[in-house]
Symmetry: C3
Subunit: 161 residues, 3 copies
């Protein structure tokens, strides 16, 4: 047994790009930031959608296909259930708006303004063929699993979403 020193800090590793999971991630991030916690979000695989601009990506044939399939920015995230080819997303956003719930782009902006730090997975960037300029400027850096582990290690809360 050693004495692990923890910061008052939340690390979120976000592998999912679903509307509901991203919602959960940003609600937790902003809630933690509001209670003065340091917050780090690490986005990998489908989670990178949260940081993407609405631009085409991909260089190789398969990269371009992936760019089409995963096309769109955070506003194009679909729910993990009942996506109905887009109708589910429309319905959810409508239901949330009617209850005055902030949208995903608004939540992300709030997180940025509250000082939440966002990192992208370099390996996913390579495999998916996302160029740096296809992601929002606010991304701090592109990193790997070792960085995610190190951040989690010094965080009092770590979650995989």
């Amino acid at each position: 047994m050693v004495d692990i020193k923890k910061k008052n800090k939340l690390t979120l590793m976000v592998i999912s790009g679903d509307l509901d999971k991203l919602f959960g991630a940003f609600i937790l991030a902003t809630s933690a930031a509001a209670s003065n916690m340091e917050v780090v979000m690490f986005f990998t695989f489908w989670g990178l959608r949260a940081l993407k601009k609405n631009v085409r990506t991909g260089k190789s044939f398969m990269g371009k296909m992936m760019g089409i399939m995963e096309g769109g920015d955070i506003d194009k995230a679909v729910p993990s259930k009942y996506s109905f080819g887009g109708a589910g997303r429309w319905m959810f956003k409508k239901m949330m708006k009617s209850k005055n719930v902030a949208s995903l782009p608004e939540l992300r902006q709030m997180a940025i303004e509250m000082g939440v730090k966002m990192y992208g997975c370099q390996m996913t960037m390579d495999v998916m063929e996302y160029p740096r300029e296809s992601l929002i400027d606010e991304v701090e850096d592109f990193v790997g699993g070792g960085f995610a582990i190190q951040q989690a290690q010094e965080s009092s809360i770590q979650l995989f979403i």
Copy 2:
């Protein structure tokens, strides 16, 4: 670095309503309670299925549609794979029963009797238009992301399911 004080406590944030994920959540909750840990479960989005009664919900047109799509209580949870329009659920429940594995309703009852505290996400209740009486009486309270973060902060184990 600060000295974060932790309780001998498990906080589960449950966003999923799939049979397998709920199974995992309640097995962990009862296992932890059995070893004298304090246990808090926070249910959000699809996870609220774990607390629902088998009643119709929804007021607006979309709320009613959601009420139909997400109809049913914890016993109606379908596996995240091989749902086959209900056949998968039937098959899983049959396979589990034949090996004397407790059902989801039984596991939840066990958790309640062991003192596991269950909370619902207020925002989901609003967006989904679930009235209070559509959930089981044992729900402690309806809360938000700040509550979930605070619980996780004082817990020695925190998981996002």
Copy 3:
């Protein structure tokens, strides 16, 4: 408040058998092992795919059906999105290989060689009717929720994947 003693240790509870989730799990496991952390992986439900050999399983009718549906070893894992009846898996593996990213079987081998300890869920083994010999020899033991909680309790990082 008590003083919870933590080891410099990562516990991963892996319920998912998707290519992307398993990838994330093994990247984190090997990254943590590389920075001298003790690493324990607990595989349950679909996650057991990570430990399976490419053999048929099941004794009862339903067990055999499950054995066919969940057939194949770690190399047969499909992505959680765009599986396209196998084409998605092929595409992903191709894209990863072209960027010199290690494959899942390679990552698992690396984890084993780095001393990562792997455990299987006994209950899933029973329900799915997987015999011991259908899993790789390197599995340390078959355990339950209590074991997973105990491991997480002494770990400085715990994640549910």
